[in-house]
């Protein structure tokens, strides 16, 4: 948390003025019982009406000054907190944008979203409350203690005894209830999980007539949660009565001892009233402090998670060169490349080269390393061993932006963004004309359904593309990659939701429209998708076990033959 405070930079003035004015306000507040005491002792006892009016006016003036101080404090605290939050959000967002896939995989994108939104908001409100209240409550407690000492040292000892006791009771109750509430949260998550399961598995549950058991299961988890909540609730139910009793013990002692003090003339009647008031104020301040600790505690947890992001440095960085396609120079070349996530080797010793203009199929079972292989080419990941060259230039030297702009990439998961069809397609080429977009849609076999939409290219795309079917999303994400020129087109198993006929048409269109030097990499699990490629790379368990034409591989590569036979009949395998 402390380390994050550097984001208050530029708001130093605000972060000092805020608490300072809070302090002023606390001073004013502390003086109220003293003024009241003098009204009682001097005004009422001496029958001095002018004095009473003067002091009453002073009370109101103090209240007003307190209001002004407090408004100033709140303003500067809010300004500093939001300046802090804004700077922090910007930094976190930029840091994430600088990550490579390695860091994204390690941290996980869904938690990155939570940290950017929820955690920063929590830290921000922690800073806001901290600036406003962190000094105030301790100051009121301390001030009340000091003033009680000034009024009477002996009676002040009662304060010295009661205040820590109050603090201990509040602390102990929080200490006991926190883990219980945490457990309750865990049990609530369990219920959410059961609900999710029931919703997703409704067909299976009903097919096996298991509704009763599912309800019983939920019921037992639900009653566990109820027990936990009851337990937590009965402990926190002690908070009010216990603190009430403690404060009133203090008041009882004050009255009892105060009676002697007044009798001996050590203090006045008004002083006693003031002391009783301070006792009540300490309780209020302590309760406020305990609420503050909860809020700040939450923001500390958030701060730890945010620091994790800020402390993560990209594991490799961009070069500054670029290169251009040339006939004869391999478009993509792997030289003894190995790659692993953590200690797990996913690709081992891969070497091959692809000439400009070739269409290459990449096939293999789940976990064979197909996606990993194509993800290495735009340098989303850096290989653990070996070198990859694009247009003859090692990827380490390539500038990331130039490298990726030269490629058209269709990721495995078809992701669309909120906006319109056109705004999505223009991700690849911000200045593409409408004709270019239609051309891309044509090739991707998407123009038919886009034409059926009311606003064509300007039709809305909802968040995540949820208003399109899986197959339509895939085709739009292919069109996006085709909307601008590229030297290398990578399709990572991106037609799985299309039926065979559409898939085939798409591949035909791709071949027809492709530039002579444009290289295409087609990743698929379907033999039918890759069998007509110029050459096919066969991966098995991270190793390159075959590279050649369909015919050659059928004869020479047992893994490829096995894959073919599992998907096609014998005659089909041998035909064309």
């Amino acid at each position: 948390m402390v380390r994050l405070l550097r984001f208050l930079k530029g708001y130093e003035k605000e972060s000092i003025i805020g608490p300072l004015f809070k302090l002023f306000e606390a001073c004013l507040e502390l003086s109220v019982p003293l003024i009241m005491a003098s009204i009682i002792d001097d005004g009422i006892k001496n029958n001095d009406t002018a004095y009473i009016v003067r002091m009453g006016g002073l009370l109101i003036l103090m209240g007003f000054l307190g209001l002004v101080c407090s408004v100033i404090a709140q303003y500067f605290a809010a300004k500093a907190a939001f300046g802090f939050g804004t700077a922090l959000r910007r930094k976190v967002f930029e840091t994430i944008n600088g990550f490579t896939y390695t860091e994204l995989d390690k941290i996980g994108t869904s938690t990155l979203v939570n940290r950017t939104i929820t955690d920063i908001t929590q830290v921000q409100s922690g800073v806001n409350f901290g600036l406003r209240l962190f000094l105030r409550s301790p100051f009121i407690i301390l001030g009340s203690l000091i003033l009680s000492f000034l009024l009477d040292v002996q009676l002040a000892l009662i304060f010295v005894a009661i205040t820590p006791l109050l603090a201990i009771v509040i602390w102990a109750l929080m200490r006991f209830t926190m883990p219980i509430y945490k457990r309750a949260q865990g049990q609530l998550d369990k219920l959410a999980l059961l609900t999710r399961e029931s919703l997703l598995g409704v067909r299976v549950i009903r097919a096996f007539s298991r509704q009763e058991q599912e309800i019983k299961h939920f019921s037992s988890e639900n009653s566990t949660l109820r027990q936990t909540q009851l337990k937590g609730g009965s402990i926190s139910a002690l908070m009010n009565p216990l603190t009430y009793v403690l404060v009133n013990i203090g008041i009882l002692l004050l009255l009892q001892q105060g009676a002697f003090a007044v009798n001996f003339g050590r203090i006045s009647q008004g002083d006693l009233v003031a002391l009783v008031n301070y006792m009540n104020q300490i309780l209020l301040a302590l309760v406020a402090l305990s609420n503050l600790i909860v809020t700040v505690g939450k923001s500390f947890a958030g701060a730890v998670r945010i620091n994790e992001i800020l402390d993560t440095a990209p594991s490799f960085s961009s070069g500054n060169k670029e290169a251009f396609p040339k006939a004869g120079v391999p478009s993509v070349e792997f030289r003894d490349v190995s790659f692993g996530y953590g200690g797990n080797e996913v690709l081992s010793h891969i070497s091959f080269s692809v000439l400009p203009g070739e269409t290459i199929g990449i096939i293999g079972g789940t976990g064979a390393g197909k996606s990993t292989l194509v993800n290495l080419i735009p340098r989303f990941y850096a290989p653990t061993k070996g070198t990859i060259l694009f247009h003859g230039l090692s990827l380490e030297q390539w500038d990331f932006t130039n490298l990726r702009r030269r490629m058209g990439i269709v990721p495995q998961k078809a992701v669309l963004f909120e906006g319109t069809i056109a705004s999505n397609l223009r991700w690849k080429a911000p200045n593409a004309s409408d004709e270019q977009l239609w051309k891309a849609l044509d090739i991707a076999q998407a123009s038919d359904f886009v034409k059926k939409l009311e606003h064509h290219l300007e039709s809305d795309v909802l968040k995540g593309g949820s208003n399109f079917s899986g197959g339509q999303r895939q085709r739009l994400s292919i069109a996006r990659a085709l909307s601008g020129p590229s030297d290398l087109l990578i399709l990572d198993d991106s037609t799985s939701a299309l039926d065979y006929a559409t898939d085939a048409k798409l591949r035909q269109a791709l071949q027809k429209e492709k530039q002579p030097l444009q290289t295409i990499l087609l990743v698929s699990q379907r033999v039918a998708c890759v069998r007509n490629a110029n050459r096919i790379l066969v991966l098995d368990d991270g190793k390159l076990v075959g590279f050649g034409t369909h015919k050659q591989l059928l004869e020479q590569c047992p893994v490829y033959r096995e894959i073919c036979l599992s998907q096609l009949s014998k005659e089909e395998v041998e035909q064309g």
Binding site: G63, T86, G201, V204, A207, V245, Q269, R480, D499
Partner: protein, 580 residues
């Protein structure tokens, strides 16, 4: 109006607990009265401590003893009240959760298909939590608050009418001030909520799909779009927080004014002998007590409003109509022969979009039916109708000549074995999952089914074999392994009819081979409907239904359909279309 109904309905849930509720109210009233009585005793005591030599020790002691008793009793009552409220709220929220969850299982599959999963979950968890928070605060603060205001007023009036009047007139001021600020800052809060919503969407999209952002070098645009929202967030967020944070200082100021006014007026009244100094001290603490509920009330009201909004969402879920129960005359389906017929079946999910149109089909026991066709042709709809997850709009489906609506749903579904494409497993052990349909199956039976489904060998390689817990929806297993478990689950059930939905994306070759063997073993001698993606399944089927746009376009076996050179032939040959 709607809010009132929701409120009344929520009140209904209190009925079974009326004793606890009544106790809580009694305790609350008692603790309020005693809390307010304490300052009187303190004031009386102070009156006995006037100055040097003017202290009446003999009268102080009984007062202090009384005070001690009152304080102890107050604390006990407060505690008892909190316990009652806690029990009340825990019971109600637990009951709400249970009822809405049970209701989910009463809903027709069609309604559930339309219910967004996340939304339903948040209703059962977050919304009900909100209700219990609101109720707890409502019980513990609203009632005591009102009681405090009324009782304090009574006490103050009995002490001195004039000073009481000052308090009564001035206090609502803080209420108005708070209301004014709330109204003013509400605008900014709305703005802030809007910007936050936009920002969340943007971050979810751009950070959630960071890989795509990087693939298209979109970082700069992303950053500038983010910065724009970030700035407007700073603007309106700061204002919203600042203005709303004025509530406390302002009400504190108003309270300060009330306090000062009581002090001045009280002092004058004391001068004229209207009240004692102790009475004044008592008044001062009442002035504080009286204003407190006014300050808290806006918070409580907001919390209650949120709770009511949540309650409306929960009741909404509970009110969605349940499926029609089985008719009392419904029979148990026993040992179906496997003869299935569809007669003039029409079906549509929405009236505007007719899907299945006049479907006719007759299947003999033991026949294998493969269903093929492009996406959206109605393949899965057919499954929904056979399992009676949905009801046909018109026409009938019969088993051995008897309409399926004449059977109980449970027995009808027990007659079918079903393996779907998305392999759903429950979060139990391997054994529990295989025995899902036959919960009392012995380990031997489970192993036998697993062996028949070619799942035994991989299960034995798991750390705890059949007792390995499989995590949420089988997250620890591969897609192929999950599918094998689903097949084993049906193997154990031994139904006479099958519905199978083959997976489109293939798994690794060796598991794929096993899955295919398992499917074949399963289909042996059973009537089966297979939504087919594999050519081997299609070629071996007794009958292939080629569906397109909800009608059966072609019907026949592989050879017959190829010879016809129709849609099937085109579909079939498209896989081998040459790219030239």
């Amino acid at each position: 109006m709607k809010r009132k109904e929701t409120f009344l309905r929520l009140i209904q849930f209190l009925k079974p607990y009326w004793t606890i509720l009544a106790l809580s109210l009694v305790f609350a009233a008692g603790s309020v009265a005693l809390t307010l009585y304490a300052p009187i005793l303190v004031g009386d005591a102070i009156d006995m401590i006037v100055g040097p030599g003017q202290v009446s020790f003999s009268s102080i002691s009984p007062l202090l003893i009384q005070l001690a008793i009152v304080v102890a009793a107050t604390a006990l009552l407060q505690w008892a009240m909190a316990l009652c409220n806690n029990r009340l709220v825990c019971n109600i929220s637990s009951q709400l959760r249970q009822q809405s969850f049970s209701h989910l299982h009463q809903l027709p599959v069609g309604s559930l298909d339309q219910l967004p999963t996340g939304d339903a979950i948040s209703r059962i968890t977050a919304d009900i939590d909100q209700i219990s928070d609101g109720l707890l605060l409502g019980f513990s603060q609203l009632f005591t608050g009102v009681a405090t205001i009324l009782t304090t007023l009574g006490f103050m009036l009995s002490l001195h009418k004039g000073i009481a009047l000052v308090v009564v007139i001035l206090t609502p001021l803080s209420f108005f001030v708070a209301g004014f600020i709330a109204k003013y800052s509400f605008r900014y809060f709305q703005q802030q909520a809007k910007v936050r919503g936009q920002m969340t969407t943007l971050v979810e999209e751009l950070v959630g799909n960071q890989k795509v952002v990087q693939a298209f070098c979109y970082q700069k645009q992303a950053e500038s779009r983010f910065e724009q929202l970030n700035r407007s967030m700073q603007q309106c967020g700061m204002k919203a927080v600042f203005f709303s944070s004025l509530t406390n200082p302002c009400t504190r100021f108003v309270n300060g004014v009330v306090y000062a006014a009581v002090g001045i007026v009280g002092a004058f009244v004391a001068l004229s002998g209207g009240i004692s100094v102790g009475g004044l001290s008592c008044f001062l603490s009442y002035a504080n007590q009286y204003t407190k509920p006014f300050n808290e009330i806006s918070g409580v009201v907001t919390e209650l409003q949120n709770a009511l909004a949540s309650a409306a969402r929960v009741f909404d879920l509970m009110d969605s109509p349940a499926q029609e129960p089985d008719s009392p005359k419904a029979m148990e389906l026993k040992n179906p022969t496997g003869q299935v017929a569809l007669e003039h079946v029409f079906f549509s999910y929405t009236p505007e979009k007719p899907l299945l149109q006049n479907l006719n089909l007759s299947v003999e026991p033991g026949q294998h039916i493969a269903i093929v066709g492009p996406t959206g042709c109605g393949k899965t709809t057919l499954i929904n109708l056979l399992m009676r997850f949905y009801e046909p709009t018109s026409g009938s489906i019969t088993l051995s000549g008897e309409d399926i609506r004449h059977f109980t749903r449970d027995s009808l579904r027990a007659g079918w074995g079903m393996v779907l494409q998305d392999t759903w497993l429950s979060s139990g052990t391997i054994h529990e999952n295989i025995a899902y349909g036959v919960p009392n199956a012995s380990r031997e039976q489970v192993i036998e089914a697993a062996k028949a489904a070619f799942a035994h060998s991989f299960i034995m390689r798991l750390p705890q074999g059949y007792d390995t817990p499989i995590g949420e929806n089988g997250a620890t297993l591969s897609a192929g392994q999950r599918q094998l478990l689903c097949i084993a689950r049906v193997m154990l059930q031994r139904p006479s009819m099958l519905i199978l939905d083959e997976a489109t994306s293939s798994i690794d070759t060796r598991t794929e081979w096993k899955v295919q063997q398992a499917f074949d073993a399963l289909m042996e001698g059973r009537t089966s409907f297979v939504v087919a993606h594999r050519l081997s399944t299609i070629q071996n089927a007794d009958m292939i239904l080629v569906m397109k746009d909800g009608i059966i376009l072609e019907k026949g076996n592989h050879q017959q359909l190829l010879e016809r050179e129709g849609f099937y032939w085109r579909l079939y040959s498209s896989q081998f279309a040459h790219q030239e």
